[in-house]
């Protein structure tokens, strides 16, 4: 095995065998699992049913004519024409009563003049958001209907004023015009692009700083002098970057298998709960996506050309990681154990990553804007922005040009940072300035 291989192997194995790696790799999916379970229970437990007595002193709602407030999953209304709040109070918390809705006499001549309906709610418990919103929407809907009825306007006529607009995207290229493109595609693409962008953003920071800390450690405990009497500093730096990068890929590969499995397992275990939630979501007041929308989104998810997306993602991911981690390595080599100095330099390197992320957020909303185009060409930004754009099918020449520029810059930076690393790693005791680091680039061996 050659020396670079040995270094990569060590960097990789020592990390993968670490407890911290094993724990985070296993704990992250388990943490997600716990999060989902807790979320599901919270959402279902928040739907505790409440029985409410309705007292309408002024008979505004005209419930005595046989009309009823519509119950929903958690709230049931019981009209009590002759009851008084004082009497019912004592029954609160018993079997058939959780709260009292008291509608006082309103200060208006007719229902039509009513702008705000003031009601009072009596209960032993704090009024929760779900209950509050439930009561508000139920009564508001009811009053709206009542008003329409009173005004003599035909309800169907009123409904006919509402218009849904559906945009059906078509490809201008006549050859591709036949392809079915649904309007959901843009939402799905935004989500996919955003997810990839976020992942690369996180990776650059997490693994970049991992490289930096490892370099600092070698410098601080002085093993580096022994190592570079056997191998070139450049080999050591490269081996470290590749080894740590492989650790990242390993982690993703594990998650790529574990997460979908967990998700599917969850689906099976909590099938009932999901159904229940879905039925709740289908309640008329909520505007959650209906079943056909969900299937359309899933269909869209499958309609992407993943081979292209995955290849572009991996290429930009790797190039971006190498580009930034080489800079982090140079910082680590120059700064050693001077935490303060390395932090301020880390900040400088982080700025383009953060800017790229914000541009990326704008770019996925406007994937063909000139901002999106130019920022996806700029090598310090493109590792984050191009993967976000790729789901919107940018022209192939743009992808290739961006990749070419990125790889070129990447090689240049690895060379430059390698020069800084080589000198920095043997410097002790002196504070290093950025100017000095720049000078090291041109220093001979």
């Amino acid at each position: 095995m050659n020396k670079l291989g040995l270094i990569i192997r060590r960097e990789y194995l020592t990390r993968v065998k670490k407890k911290a790696f094993i724990l985070t790799t296993i704990l992250a999916p388990i943490g997600m699992l716990i999060f989902w379970v807790v979320l599901i229970f919270l959402m279902s437990s928040g739907q505790e049913s409440r029985r409410l007595a309705v007292l309408d002193e002024g008979n505004i709602l005209e419930l005595n004519t046989g009309k009823t407030l519509r119950d929903n999953n958690s709230l049931t209304y019981k009209y009590m024409p002759n009851a008084k709040v004082e009497e019912l109070r004592d029954n609160l918390g018993t079997e058939d009563l959780d709260g009292i809705i008291y509608i006082p006499k309103q200060n208006v001549d007719s229902l039509g003049a009513l702008r705000t309906l003031n009601i009072e709610y009596y209960s032993d418990d704090q009024l929760g958001v779900t209950t509050l919103e439930g009561i508000k929407s139920t009564i508001a809907n009811y009053v709206e209907k009542l008003k329409i009825e009173k005004s003599g306007v035909d309800e169907n006529l009123l409904k006919s004023f509402d218009t849904d607009v559906h945009v059906d995207p078509k490809n201008a290229d006549p050859e591709k015009a036949e392809e079915e493109v649904s309007s959901y595609r843009v939402y799905v693409a935004t989500f996919l692009g955003g997810a990839m962008m976020f992942l690369i953003y996180i990776v650059i920071f997490v693994y970049g700083t991992m490289v930096m800390r490892s370099v600092q450690e070698e410098k601080t405990n002085r093993i580096v002098e022994v190592i570079i009497s056997s191998v070139k500093p450049f080999q050591l730096m490269l081996g470290k970057i590749i080894g740590v990068g492989m650790v990242g890929l390993t982690q993703f590969a594990i998650w790529a298998v574990v997460f979908p499995l967990l998700y599917m397992g969850m689906g099976l275990v909590f099938a009932d709960k999901f159904k229940q939630m879905q039925s709740m979501a289908e309640a008329p007041s909520a505007d959650a996506p209906d079943a056909s929308e969900i299937t359309a989104i899933i269909q869209e998810l499958w309609s992407f050309d993943y081979s292209e997306i995955v290849i572009v993602f991996i290429l930009f991911f790797l190039a971006g990681y190498i580009l930034y981690s080489s800079m982090f390595a140079a910082i680590g080599a120059s700064m050693g154990d001077d935490q303060g100095e390395s932090q301020s330099l880390t900040l400088i390197v982080s700025i383009p990553v953060i800017i790229a992320f914000y541009i990326g957020v704008a770019a996925i909303q406007n994937p063909n804007s000139s901002l999106a185009f130019w920022s996806s060409m700029f090598p310090l930004f493109s590792p984050i922005i191009m993967p976000a754009r790729i789901v919107f099918d940018p022209p192939m020449w743009q992808v290739l040009l961006s990749l070419g520029l990125l790889i070129g810059t990447c090689l240049l930076f690895v060379w430059l940072t390698g020069r800084i690393y080589r000198v920095g790693i043997l410097m002790y005791g002196k504070k290093t300035t950025i100017r000095e680091m720049a000078r090291w680039i041109f220093r001979k061996d």
């Binding site: 020396k3 070698e218 405990n221 002098e225 191998v231 043997l426």
Partner: protein
């Protein structure tokens, strides 16, 4: 044959010249002392020899060949500031460093077993380096330096921070390797260590060669014909007219002879005059004294 030949080696950094026109040869199988005060350029010189950096000018020959990237595998280097990967297991770490020096996995394991057994520390194999005491770590460091059986062993201040037991242990190992024919470059600012251990030496100060030669030769060159005599009885009257008497305290005499006097005749003269001689020996200058004399007591320390 010379394991190492340096000719007019020069290395400058931005603000100063670290190595300035240094030349010396290290013959095969010798223990060679690289002497000099802190900041004299020893580490810069060693970094050139270990190919960590390159000389600006001058030539370095390793066993007759111009120094190149294949040579580090024949060099073992223990830097003054020692370090190991703290989180690695002892066995893995030694094998890793040995393989970086070009040993195969199999060879590395064989050598690992040999050395662990030699130091009686077989049960450390699976311990992490950070669990070991500092002295124990020094042993591991030494093993990693010599495991690939280097032709040239470079030890930079090998005894700094060692307790007497470990110092002796390492010294014995240096002796063993020396007997097996390993050439050793021993870098230190402790002159007395060179006197005890080294056969040849070079003294550098401010990046320049100051002295070069065998330790004995250097000392001979700087001896001042001083002799110390312990005696009992009375000195012959007028003795101090014949020789230059430096001191005479408590029947201990220090004299200096001039070029045409020899020690035998002095001894003979004293014996004939009834002085009882208990010891008679030449005072050779210590390297420390030589150093102070040569560089005028000025060092960067």
């Amino acid at each position: 044959m010379n394991v190492l030949e340096l000719q007019n080696v020069r290395k400058a950094y931005q603000n100063h010249v670290a190595v300035n026109d240094v030349s010396f040869n290290i013959p095969e199988g010798r223990i060679f002392g690289l002497l000099g005060p802190n900041g004299a350029g020893k580490t810069s010189l060693i970094r050139i020899i270990t190919t960590i950096t390159r000389a600006d000018s001058g030539t370095v020959l390793f066993r007759g060949e111009k120094l190149n990237n294949t040579h580090p595998s024949q060099i073992g280097y223990m830097p003054e500031e020692r370090g190991l990967y703290k989180k690695m297991k002892v066995g893995e770490e030694i094998v890793y460093l040995a393989r970086l020096k070009g040993l195969s996995k199999k060879e590395a394991k064989v050598q690992l077993d040999y050395w662990l057994e030699k130091f009686g520390i077989e049960d450390w194999v699976n311990k992490k380096v950070e669990e070991l005491s500092k002295g124990m770590q020094q042993k591991i460091q030494f093993i990693t330096t010599v495991i690939h059986q280097p032709k040239l062993l470079i030890l930079d201040e090998p005894f700094s921070g060692l307790d007497p037991v470990n110092t002796n242990l390492i010294r014995d190992e240096i002796d063993n390797l020396h007997k097996k024919g390993t050439t050793i470059l021993f870098s230190t600012h402790r002159m007395e260590q060179v006197e005890q251990i080294c056969e040849d030496m070079v003294l550098i100060n401010n990046g320049k060669n100051v002295l070069n030669g065998s330790v004995k030769g250097v000392k001979d060159e700087f001896k001042e014909n001083l002799f110390q005599i312990s005696y009992a009885g009375e000195l012959p009257v007028g003795f101090n007219e014949h020789v230059n008497l430096i001191s005479n305290k408590k029947e201990k005499l220090v004299i200096q002879l001039n070029a045409n006097q020899d020690s035998n005749s002095v001894l003979k003269y004293l014996l004939e005059n009834g002085v009882q001689i208990q010891s008679f020996n030449e005072i050779l200058p210590t390297l420390n004294e030589i150093f102070i004399k040569v560089v005028g007591g000025k060092s960067d320390e």
